[in-house]
Symmetry: C2
Subunit: 317 residues, 2 copies
């Protein structure tokens, strides 16, 4: 099953906001067996949105849209929905009571602008918003599903995890996508690719390989799709084993592993603890180390001596 | 002048990488007076790339593409360029000597895979890569300009700043885009929009207003386009002044200002210095404060006591 993600908001087109919503959503869809074929960001313009919905639905069966559902005038996604689906709007009682509750909990009165957020397309099924006032909207046209969600990240993420993904899984069960990434260092991608050429030639057609270079680290990603999760997993892990045997000296980790995590593993294994003295890194190393769950087992703390005075008093240098 | 950005790479469609390239590039284009109408991310598939180039060129005059120019087999952008522009490939001597120099400087021999990176479309003008081996490619077809650049962020950014933007500015001079963002707190967007309704109604048609809500902060962005930079700037700043007079109690900053910057300004004004004792924040507060240039004027350092032992020894608690 293939999907497209459409992110709406002028802030994505002027460099003000990075589209973290789309990458997060793509990861969740992949985990549910749905491939994302395209991610598009467009501005808050009704015509552009209607065109985009039409285009996307000609390519894929699932179209997921975030943004432009707020109560202010620059948000026009709901207007575009009305036009594209030829549907009238009506106040939805569940949404209205959710919104009323949202404001009451904050000791605020409901204004007319807030009430308007309960005005939703008659044809839409509602995804309730646990953290804000704009509901999610599920609509279908011809053979495509369209789901519209707010652009505020924590509102969208909660809606996706608790409502969207379970619904999509039920509809498209039996689809699986798996990625496995091997982290290498100490060798450039062109040398690595020559070294791995024979292995790459013999990869089964169901498995794709990608090289992801960044300063100091080249990631190798194996991706596959299939109906049988166990077979898919076995096939990919077999290739990971082969790779491990071919280039053990360059591999230092897997998937989203980070160097600070590896450091923690090594410290625990060697039963050592760590204290830092930082200067111009200004606490950043301590921050990276403490971002690993369980780091208190080996990390004692850091003395961030940004001034000469503190360097002398605390470190004696 | 309008542009589209096309980002190529499966990693953008599976949640592995966030598209920071596109947001950065969009900001640079805006500063050069070029509006970005659409950002699209697609995978490393030759057919999808060719279709996308065709589509985009029917909508806009400038198409900027990043990614898929690497030396490994999963990178197919160059193949797609050959098909779309009906151009043959030839070894470019400048590029070849740049690549040879790149490897020689690292004490490495040039392999056949590296040499292939100097194979570029005959019709292309070259943008040299100061930090890597894949050159940028400038091609024109019918009335559209297409520029292909590597996806590795620091290689692309250097190419954009030193070569792409100067070329585009020369071509499209006399276009200006301006954004001004006002940062508010202490009031939700729906209440703010009702409070500002009269002012919003009287905004000149050349200025657009957007509300950008996030937890605790609502940003108000004023955007305008025009031929005369001075007039544009004056019109927007007049509205900023009006806004300042209307809701002074909710405004705490402008544009990309951050709370840690405001803290620094206040400390300098009051001639105070700051030392921190952090525990579970693990150095993150020190990191945020030291991320502000000039923070050494008021920030002495932080004692990050992650363990009880250090809390007792260093802080006496």
């Amino acid at each position: 099953m293939q999907a497209e993600i459409i992110s709406i908001g002028e802030e994505l087109l002027i460099g003000q906001t990075t589209n973290t919503n789309a990458s997060w959503l793509a990861g969740e869809l992949n985990a549910a067996g749905i491939r994302v074929a395209r991610v598009t960001a467009i501005g808050d313009e009704s015509d552009a949105i209607v065109d985009m919905l039409d285009e996307a639905s000609q390519r894929v069966k699932v179209v997921l849209v975030t943004g432009g559902l707020g109560p202010t005038r620059d948000d026009v996604t709901k207007t575009a929905i009305g036009r594209f689906f030829e549907t009238e709007m009506a106040i939805n009682d569940t949404v209205l009571s959710d919104i009323a509750l949202f404001f009451r909990a904050r000791g605020l009165d409901l204004t007319e602008t807030n009430r308007q957020q309960a005005l939703v397309p008659k044809k839409a099924k509602i995804l309730r918003n646990a953290f804000g006032t704009a509901p999610g909207l599920w609509l279908e046209r011809k053979k495509s599903i369209f789901v519209f969600m707010p652009g505020v990240p924590h509102e969208m993420k909660s809606m996706v995890s608790t409502q969207l993904i379970p619904k999509l899984r039920k509809r498209f069960k039996g689809q699986h996508i798996m990625h496995k990434t091997i982290l290498t260092h100490g060798i450039g991608e062109s040398f690595l690719s020559e070294m791995l050429s024979d292995w790459e030639n013999r990869l089964p057609p169901s498995i794709q390989l990608a090289y992801l270079p960044s300063p100091g680290v080249v990631k190798l990603r194996l991706s596959g799709r299939g109906e049988d999760k166990a077979i898919l997993s076995r096939e990919i892990l077999q290739q990971v084993d082969k790779l491990q045997a071919l280039i053990p000296q360059y591999i230092w980790g897997h998937d989203n592993q980070r160097l600070e995590e590896l450091l923690g593993t090594l410290l625990k294994k060697k039963k050592k603890t760590l204290v830092l003295a930082e200067s111009c890194t200004g606490g950043y190393i301590a921050h990276r180390i403490t971002s690993i769950a369980g780091s208190s087992a080996y990390f004692k703390g850091s003395v961030v001596t940004y001034s000469n005075e503190l360097k002398e008093r605390l470190l004696g240098v």
